[in-house]
Amino acid sequence: MADHDASLPSGMVAEPDIDALLQDAIDPALLDHSDTDENFSNEDVQRLTTAWTNEKQAPDLLPFADQLVGDLTEMVQNQAQMLDAIQEDNTAQAFTVMLYQSEIERIKYLLRSYLRTRLLKIEKHAMYYTSTEDYISRMSVNERNYAQRYRSLHEGHLRKSCLNKLPQAVQALDEMHGDIPMVPEPNLQSAVICRVVRDIGDFAVTESETVEMKKDNIFLVGYQAIRPLLAEGHVELL
């Protein structure tokens, strides 16, 4: 019975009301306030989404989107403050606030997922990344700190748990096994799926193979081959 009561009014009243609420909600003062902000931020969100999917799909660590993360974190703060200031006097305003809050939650999710994807990658190859100049420069200051500390925590643990009890000569963590290094490296040969963002023309995918890359084409290729294109933003990973 209680269940019935709860679902019926919301199902009946909320639906037709949304349009009206939206109309009311587009209060000129509010809109003015956020118009420029929104256009600007939407582009940022789009760019972060691209950076995030790229990061998720690329086998190695990509350069940190420093500016983007900084701007968006600041925006999330500002928006939250702005919402705090708005009085929820009537339904329309409450509705607007809810829309904004949902948007903020989504951006926060994006940022969170982006940062965590990177942390995970950094942990996985902490030893390699912290000792390779190129990758050190791809990390943010915070990530660099994190990588260093994580590495020493991890190595310390392995030493305390077993290595220290082995003869000195076999304690190293970075020796070679034949020609295979003991420090795992990201596999740059792995295959990725990428979408071409703008016309590139003929592109050498392997030494012997060239394909014509047109806008919106989708390719399954070796990551190594398209690395320069990705860095330039000519392709995005899917």
């Binding site: 974190t73 703060q77 809810m98 940022l111 700190n145 748990s161 077993c162 290595l163 009890k165 076999v170």
Partner: protein, 196 residues
Amino acid sequence: MNSGTHGIKLIAEAKRTARHLPAYNEALVQHVLRETTHQFSRLEELLRTVDELSGADPDYTRRIAAQMALLHANVKWNKRCLLAYHQQRVAFLKQLFWTLGCLPDELREHLSPQELDYFSHYILLINQYKGNYVDIGLTASLIPPKDLYIEVRVVQECGEIQVENGTLMLAKNSQHLVKRSDVEHLIHRGLLEHIR
């Protein structure tokens, strides 16, 4: 001596760790450590013999060289087994942290003192990094948010909690429509159940 078999036991245990965390096998670890140390000293011994005998009898030297190669491979093998075992366990611990946020009591006794230490240090490390992005809530759920408000049922008594605008009494079996970000950590720990 059938060397290498204990190392492979470690690997088998490590493989099982993918799903759950068996108790830290101190005895097996110690055994492999002893075996490795023993093999290594045997290796050094042989090395000295070869030095002393240098050039005496090529056939004999070759036999010793073969023994040495075997011992050397064994030492390295055991070392890698040990590392893989410990590595796999801390990987599990880290995953535990990201999904639960804490160490369940029943697992506590499965850990070695070093692993307990590792876990608490790892939490510190994450919190340090998290401090740089306070507003984002780095350790919050990684499920894309669909709705701002969700309906939850209280599975375990939580008492009064702080929410964005005031406090909320979460008595067992009651149902509430709440802001997702306010109660996410409670859902995570299984105190609340997300209904819709």
